[in-house]
Point group: D2
Chain length 143, copies 4
């Protein structure tokens, strides 16, 4: 999974990157590799690799992030090659390296989880999630 983003794109900061982080935490690394792609097409002077480094540190992004270098006209190379409309864009590539899904904007977790699993074709070991405290009822009372 590739998460194309810009560090100053509000939708990327509030939705795209946290979702990519959740994907990285939910699936096993051998099943799903999550990669960030910094595809800057505006405010180039404010979103340099140096600034990106500070951003990734402060937002504690754990997955690897590549820089999508801009061509002469300011549009990043990979963004153009993939004909992305903007950021955030989510790209799913299957085990054989084929591009299988490209979505601009927000994709609900339920759907993204299903699409990733459809590409995996088999069930990976996911983190087993225990109950959230204070949100369940048992015959011994609600907690």
């Amino acid at each position: 999974m590739v998460c194309a983003f810009q560090m100053l794109c509000p939708g990327c900061v509030s939705h795209g990157l946290p979702q990519a982080q959740r994907v990285a935490e939910t699936f096993r690394p051998e099943d799903v590799a999550v990669i960030g792609l910094h595809s800057v097409f505006e405010h180039h002077e404010a979103m340099t690799p140096k600034s990106l480094e500070a951003f990734l540190h402060e937002y504690r992004i754990q997955f690897p992030v590549g820089v999508d270098e801009a061509d002469g006209d300011g549009i990043p190379h990979t963004m153009r090659a993939y004909a992305m409309q903007g950021t955030p864009t989510t790209v799913l590539i299957d085990r054989e390296g084929r591009l299988r899904r490209q979505a601009f904007g927000h994709l609900p977790d339920l759907q993204l989880g299903a699409e990733i699993m459809a590409l995996l074709g088999e069930r990976p070991d996911m983190t087993q999630v225990s109950s959230a405290a204070g949100e369940v009822c048992t015959p011994h009372g609600c907690t």
Copy 2:
């Protein structure tokens, strides 16, 4: 998918039922059938089938909901048969009718979507989600 709940269980109202609703909206009905199960094990007099009817109306629950009838000791029959710990409980049953997953408490959407798809074994047509307004950036500006 079965969503076992109680109408006065806060975690069911805020997490379990809305998630079941999202599943019903994300997958095709021929792929995933979502069913609610009202498994009342406390406050029986406050959560009668009559009260449930009003609740389902006000919360606009769209999927069918069955009533899990209590045995003599107040524990509902299906809840005991499935050895559920409490509510909400999510149950996944595959195409062959086998119980494949039972989770007490909150299951993240990303994981639930993946688990459902693992059981489907093939990609269903999901609702294609368009970008959320105001949350994306394009070379023509952020909207």
Copy 3:
């Protein structure tokens, strides 16, 4: 402050009652008295005082709640006397017992806090809130 609600009104459960709870926790009891009012105008058989009791227990409502008894036509007495449009309705009564504000629907916390304080006319001792962990940056790092 009076919070008129119905136990099966979604907006009351997700917004009105939690907000009333926050008011009760933010202001001193000698400055602001928070009272719930169960003003049922529909599904009477599902929202009896007995059901309300179970609801208040499960949702851990800490402030006192009164029952607004229905007149012959099913409209509760106080709801009619105050000409409330529906639920949730927030009512602010000043120290002299005069009705100063009545709002149907959701009132933002920022505005409600300001309106309550305008009626108090002086600063009460509010709970001093410490910083939320993991959400601040200091010269020693973001935590």
Copy 4:
């Protein structure tokens, strides 16, 4: 009200700045002046005035923002003068220009609204908020 922040401080982006924006929208400009203060004490090369400009544009910050210039050791001048612990920091200054409140971290809206009003000493005209659609019940049904 002064909102001291750093453009790459997650708590400022998700809590501090949106709250300052809400204050600016809730109170009349003649009652409350909201000012942002970019108090950078780390990653100076990534949070330059030029980068800040892009950030303010993308996040649509409407209130004026000043730059807190760093002294020789990288700690901004005003941040040191006010002995701020970090970002976000909220500062309330009364009509006479006296510093009345300084809070590091997150301040709940309810409390902030009350504190601002306590300083105003009288009720300003706030935006009257209408009911949020789909979240209220009336005798004609829940909408």
